[in-house]
Symmetry: C2
Subunit: 217 residues, 2 copies
């Protein structure tokens, strides 16, 4: 496997938390646009985004200069800019591995479609599920994974299989050339450099809450 630097590293200073804040500014901008608001200050972005206005200005300055002193940022302009930075100015070809309850929730999640994530294939290893129709998708047998990922030039794979099956799925997906994985399985997965991996881990978030509650008692 060819080793490449992660994109975050190669950009120098863009940390995962910066990217998260950009996502959160984007959300506030969508809300402002829906209200018909034309400009937004760094203070407003900061307050509603749970950070400081200095941080907002610093985050945005990484990517060029937006906004005019005293006038704030133009909502539609900043919105398009952040969408561009996050790669949301285009649609993405996504596949889902694992047609369980979480997969089912994802496939009917309107925000996914709206943000340009198009689930173009769904796989499962369970013979009972293969062939079932989910929205516009027919559930495919997992043997077809490599072929279908390649033919559809899938860019992002969502892994929603049980923990003990997840690493194998990820290894196959990576060998098939996919460079971005969203993992719902409650395990820590290994991917080579150059493959972006994010985890959605509900139990871990719950453990953060029970830690907070416990340390208070």
């Amino acid at each position: 496997m060819k080793k490449t630097r992660s994109p975050v590293e190669s950009r120098g200073k863009i940390s995962e938390s910066t990217v998260r804040r950009l996502s959160s500014y984007l959300r506030l901008l969508h809300e402002a646009e829906a209200r018909g608001q034309e400009t937004i200050s760094s203070e407003e972005l900061a307050e509603r985004g749970g950070t400081t206005s200095a941080q907002v200005r610093k985050d945005l300055s990484f990517f060029g200069s937006f906004g005019k002193r005293g006038l704030g940022y133009s909502v539609p302009e900043l919105l398009r800019e952040i969408e561009g930075i996050l790669g949301l100015h285009r649609r993405w070809r996504v596949a889902l591995v694992g047609a369980g309850k979480i997969g089912s929730a994802l496939i009917s999640y309107r925000n996914f479609q709206r943000r340009g994530f198009e689930i173009q294939a769904v796989f499962d290893s369970d013979r009972e599920k293969v062939g079932q129709v989910w929205g516009s998708q027919i559930i495919l047998p997992d043997e077809e994974l490599e072929r279908v990922l390649a033919e559809n030039q899938i860019e992002i794979v969502i892994v929603a299989v049980p923990g003990d099956a997840a690493q194998k799925v990820v290894d196959r997906v990576v060998r098939a050339g996919v460079r971005a994985i969203l993992n719902f399985a409650p395990v820590r997965l290994r991917v080579p450099d150059g493959v972006a991996l994010r985890n959605v881990d509900m139990v871990m978030e719950m453990e953060g809450l029970t830690f907070a509650l416990s340390s208070r008692e």
Copy 2:
């Protein structure tokens, strides 16, 4: 609303990322225990947890001294200790607000039960859903939220309602005295000091991936 210091602050130096690492060590320990492994080194915890052995030792030293030099940590002992730190040595009373697809995935999620999270009430504002039976739960009308939270002494509320309804739900839950909230709605919620809030945000994780893919192009 009385202002209280957050439990994390009051403990001094335990950051959210430390707590996340503890969760991740715990997972490795569960796997090791399932394999019948008796001891584990900080190197093994580090490597599989994606950190350094110095970090592992530092994280664990916050909470007392575990492990013997050269012998590593006893798997069952360290497992119980971390469970204790994270508050997982007991069961937690949980309620779910929002009986949609995500709620449905959660209620049938075995890892939730297994880790001691007992969903004891489910609410929805949709008259069509109220009265439906989900596992051992009957979906309750959301007007009963405050009463049921109090009567059942619910400790953690999971919010899985649409974005525009989420803040109102959270305000009611907080007024009812709940001090921990897990949010699935794609909005940034405001809670007073002393209330622990964690977010599970799939779209934000996807945006992290599209950022990574885009900055590589």
